[in-house]
């Protein structure tokens, strides 16, 4: 496809929705209000496993303003449980509360109290008396009653990548690393709470809820409520953070919709922060056993990655990051195996870089251990094992600039000044540690549709049911349309986040920019073609650079419109059918038959660890990334910077702590679930390494939303080792892990 001369793609333009956001004009899910709306407050279970024995509503009903109490007695039979997204459904869990008195996890919804005001609903909820029949609950891996199964047995589609004979090669290897790692439970905690507002009018349901998947929500709700999807509209124009937590439908939405139907009035739910820990999804804890065998000069001869993930009792949710870790380096003998452990927990779900974050923490820490064992510089070790062909099936990468990222990052960081000896670099009482790690994230592109309408005044409206989860989707979609139509960016109005618009995939797997920009470009090109054909202003074969001014006057009063669908490489016609049923057919990463597509980067961390108190402070974070064509360097930098900070947070702070006896979370608030504050984050630098990938898609775009937070975890752990000589293999790394460091 040729481009117009405008050159808006790749320009560092400010967000087109920025003014609306800072002036409060942008309405987020929680901002919507309707006349005559009622307020819902959730009551959640105080046990993790058992049954509701009895519910006494007397005291709650006496609270002035309470107008309804809904329990399984009112909802069972009216709302169906749904299937997991991974199983072809739309939900993040198959556990549907209020369909029976059974409790399958901590904080499961057991009742919804409806009031004329938020306060009356809350007071009613506080006074609802729920008695339970409590059964012993298994919290996690170490509980005797959990059930662990191989992923290949749990799921027919699961594959454990392997090649050669890893075990024999490991036994014969000159150098061997044989280590275990773990990562904790984490929660997304988007600032916007898990709000839902439902309203019925003439048998049609409208849902206002921040969502990364409005078409998926529409179809999922239709299935759960037993109604026609065409009678449902889901609106999500602005989203106060998501990170995967709003990608699949959660059970609350159908419950609130059903209550609104029974009540005949709009119902608005704003759950509390702590309820958000149990009514939505989370990143489950993982364990890893990594074995690396290498020659004395650092060449990998064996790589084995075995991992375990926690999930709920009924669901086989898994992230299986071995798809990435078995393909990062050249190695002739590779073994991998994933198992899942069923515990009495809610079903986990997507959280920024779901597979890559925990799995690359393990592999990239192990690579650093190998670097120490071989005495080879960590960057050089990666160069020795770099490849342009993935080792499992021998497929070529569409592009891979890993070492270019390391070189650019190392230069900016001053890596050559690093004294490799642990504890050798000091600044007064502070031990200085420098660590680095690779980062990678699959580039997936999904079928999408878009509509563009051009008006006689030279303004254009772009419509697609995509989502801006704070990343800048409005802006990059606008930039592509401006360039392709040959109009100033200010003339483009972008409409997204509405299931009445042409379908777009879930905002997950970092696919939005690639999927949606390509289809918008297609719709714009089609529109120009129609325009010039109609006007006879130019031959239809050479219209790319033609200004629109000449033809605008000929347009009808309501303009002209073009519609496009896009089937990216690796998808089939079936993908379009799925798209119109709320399913996203993401194709890419390691799933393609003919090639492999990932974005890469190198991340560098400088830590200072106080020799007496062992406080860990991060003084510098640098990431160098190669992710194809950058549509907007400003929003891209912002995302990667956010990713680096997230990675730091994940490495040093974040952990949802679970009481092993009761299987309940106990730090379910932002005072005790730690994330860094501004004062914890000093220097952060994002470097773009130029990369042109013509094969990956028409516009050459790779996803980058999740790339930033992957490698940071290992880079931090590697820096801790460099500063202290202590290898911490369990995240998060806290000061108490370093007490034994000699002062």
């Amino acid at each position: 496809m040729a481009e117009t001369a405008e050159g808006v793609i790749g320009k560092d333009v400010a967000r087109i929705d920025g003014a609306r956001k800072v002036t409060g004009a942008a309405s987020y899910g929680s901002d919507f209000a309707l006349p005559d709306q009622t307020y819902a407050f959730l009551v959640t279970s105080t046990i993790a496993r058992g049954r509701i024995r009895h519910i006494d509503e007397t005291a709650a009903r006496r609270v002035p303003g309470v107008i309804g109490i809904y329990t399984h007695r009112d909802i069972a039979g009216k709302v169906k449980a749904g299937k997991l997204m991974a199983d072809g459904g739309y939900l993040g869990t198959s556990i549907q509360p209020l369909t029976s008195p059974d409790i399958l996890h901590d904080g499961q919804i057991v009742a919804v109290v409806i009031g004329e005001s938020f306060e009356s609903a809350r007071e009613g909820a506080y006074r609802l008396d729920v008695a339970y029949e409590r059964q012993p609950a298994s919290a996690s891996f170490d509980d005797a009653s959990v059930e662990t199964v191989a992923a290949s047995e749990a799921s027919k589609t699961h594959e454990d990548p392997k090649v050669g004979d890893a075990e024999t090669a490991f036994q014969q290897a000159a150098l061997r690393i044989d280590v275990s790692y773990s990562t904790p439970t984490q929660h997304h905690n988007p600032i916007e709470l898990f709000t839902t507002l439902c309203h019925w009018s003439d048998g049609k349901l409208t849902v206002w809820e921040s969502s990364q998947n409005v078409w998926g929500y529409k179809y999922g709700l239709a299935e759960q409520l037993g109604i026609d999807p065409n009678d449902i509209r889901v609106l999500s124009p602005f989203i106060g953070g998501a990170f995967g937590s709003r990608g699949s439908l959660t059970p609350r939405t159908a419950i609130i919709a059903e209550i609104a139907r029974q009540l005949g009035r709009p119902v608005k739910l704003v759950p509390t922060r702590d309820q958000g820990f149990t009514i939505a999804t989370y990143r489950a804890e993982t364990r890893h056993h990594v074995k690396l065998g290498a020659t004395p000069d650092g060449k990998l001869v064996s790589l084995s990655h075995e991992a375990w993930e926690v999930t709920s009792r009924p669901d086989n949710y898994m992230v299986s990051g071995t798809k990435a870790t078995t393909r990062l380096y050249q190695c002739p003998n590779i073994y991998s195996k994933v198992s899942i452990t069923h515990a009495d927990r809610n079903t986990p779900g997507f959280m920024r870089s779901p597979p890559e974050l925990p799995y690359l923490f393990a592999l990239e820490s192990a690579m650093d251990e190998l670097a120490v064992a071989t005495g080879i510089d960590p960057i050089e070790l990666r160069r020795i094992n770099d490849t342009q062909v993935e080792p499992i099936k021998g497929l070529p990468y569409t592009s891979r600039s890993l070492m270019a990222c390391f070189d650019a990052g190392a230069k900016a960081f001053g890596w050559h000044e690093r004294n490799p000896k642990p504890g050798a670099m000091r600044d007064g009482d502070w031990l200085v540690g420098w660590g680095c790690a690779s980062t990678m994230y699959p580039t997936a592109v999904a079928p999408a549709a878009a509509k563009v309408r051009l008006m006689p005044d030279g303004k254009a409206i772009v419509q697609t049911a995509a989502h801006d989860i704070g990343t800048g989707a409005y802006t990059v979609i606008g930039q592509v349309a401006a360039e392709r139509l040959g109009l100033p960016l200010a003339n483009i109005e972008v409409q997204i986040g509405d299931s009445d618009l042409p379908p777009a995939p879930v905002a997950g797997g970092s696919n939005t920019t690639a999927s949606v920009c390509n289809v918008v470009a297609k719709a714009c090109d089609r529109l120009r073609q129609q325009l010039f054909q109609q006007s006879n202003a130019a031959s239809a074969t050479d219209i790319s650079g033609m200004p629109l001014d000449a033809v605008l006057n000929d347009l009808p009063k309501d303009g002209i419109e073009a519609y496009a669908e896009n089937l990216p490489h690796g998808t089939t016609q079936e993908g379009i059918g799925k798209l119109y049923h709320g399913h996203s057919m993401l194709a890419g990463g390691s799933e393609l038959k003919d090639r492999i597509q990932f974005a890469f980067g190198a991340e560098f961390v400088e830590l200072r660890i106080h020799r007496l108190t062992k406080e860990i402070r991060c003084s510098r974070l640098i990431g160098a990334f190669a992710c194809g064509r950058i549509v907007n360097p400003r929003t891209a930098r912002s995302q990667l910077m956010g990713g680096l900070i997230w990675g730091l947070s994940s490495a040093l702070h974040e952990e949802t702590e679970i009481d092993q006896a009761s299987a309940r979370y106990y730090n379910d608030d932002l005072a005790e679930y730690l994330i860094p504050v501004n004062a914890d984050v000093r220097e952060v630098e994002v470097i773009f390494v130029p990369e042109e990938d013509k094969a990956i898609n028409d516009l050459g775009i790779k996803g980058l939303g999740e790339l930033g937070n992957v490698g940071t975890n290992a880079a931090v752990a590697n820096a801790v080792y460099h500063a202290t000589g202590f290898r911490i293999r369990d995240l998060p790394i806290r000061l108490e892990d370093l007490l034994a460091v000699e002062s």
Binding site: Y126, R127, L612, T613, Y666, E672, A679, L739
Partner: protein, 281 residues
């Protein structure tokens, strides 16, 4: 369900009358009150003292500073009249939550809530502050150490209201400090805190020393042995070397989610050394 009362008196007499007649939970800024009651129905009477007027928030009279029950952390931070002995308490004020919390939360409320990790208490101990309590029976004062009974418990009688904190000011040159250690840099519950006030003679010799440690015992504790050892010494950075494990006798740190007892014991020594080094600079 017994109905609970909410009362927001506009003068002290109304408040004291109410306290004598009924049992109340006293609410000032509400920043500790609210989060402690999430998920539970309010089944207590609430006496909101935020509207009582006629009290100057921070004043000086007869050699004593008076911080009234409505003085917030932000009021303290903004008050330029306060002498150097308040510098530590001001630094603690900047660590009490974010600015929005500092604008609402009161110094007296922080004390009455009596959390072992309350940021304000070590420096109030180091300032030798007295608590002023009023009831219909009259007025009495208690030293801070005699006011805080234990974890979230005080010796305030049910009919009494804490009306002010009184801080003596000898007028001598003084230096003070507050140091806090948390898992991150800011907005974090303390693992260990140190508050200290030293009064100095003209030749820089230490005339009086008060050093208190928070979050290492149910109630923040002063360290008398260390204080005695400092008196008469010249204030210089070498004093940091004096700090010894035996000075920590009054402390009883526990293992919790924020840190182990061993770590706290180790960290408090470092914080004490840093405090003395900073005071000498």
């Amino acid at each position: 369900m017994k109905p609970s009362l909410y009362f927001r008196p506009t003068n002290l007499q109304e408040a004291l009358t109410a306290l004598s007649a009924n049992s109340w939970s006293v609410l000032a800024g509400g920043t500790d009150f609210y989060p402690a009651r999430l998920g539970k129905p309010l089944e207590e009477n609430v006496l909101d003292v935020s509207a009582i007027d006629g009290q100057e928030k921070i004043s000086f009279n007869d050699g004593r500073w008076r911080l009234s029950l409505q003085a917030t952390w932000s009021d303290l931070i903004a008050d330029n009249r306060l002498p150097a002995r308040f510098d530590g308490l001001k630094r603690a004020a900047r660590e009490v939550g974010g600015v929005q919390i500092q604008n609402r939360a009161t110094i007296c409320g922080n004390l009455c809530n009596a959390s072992p990790a309350a940021d304000g208490i070590p420096n109030l101990l180091a300032l030798d502050a007295q608590v002023e309590l009023m009831s219909l029976q009259g007025r009495r004062t208690l030293p801070i150490a005699d006011f805080v009974k234990g974890n979230r418990r005080t010796f305030r009688r049910e009919d009494e209201l804490v009306t002010a904190l009184l801080v003596p000011d000898s007028g001598r040159p003084a230096r003070s400090v507050f140091l806090k250690l948390g898992a991150r840099k800011y907005l974090v519950i303390s693992i260990v805190m140190v508050g200290a006030v030293l009064e100095l003679a003209e030749d820089s010799r230490i005339v009086s020393a008060r050093i208190a440690v928070g979050a290492c015992s149910p109630v923040a504790q002063r360290l008398p042995l260390l204080e005695e050892g400092l008196i008469g010494r010249r204030l210089e950075t070498a004093l940091a070397d004096m700090v010894h494990e035996r000075h920590l006798a009054p402390l009883a740190p526990i293992d919790d989610v924020r840190g182990t007892a061993d770590y706290r014991r180790d960290a408090v020594i470092t914080l004490l050394q840093r405090s003395l080094t900073e005071l000498a600079r």
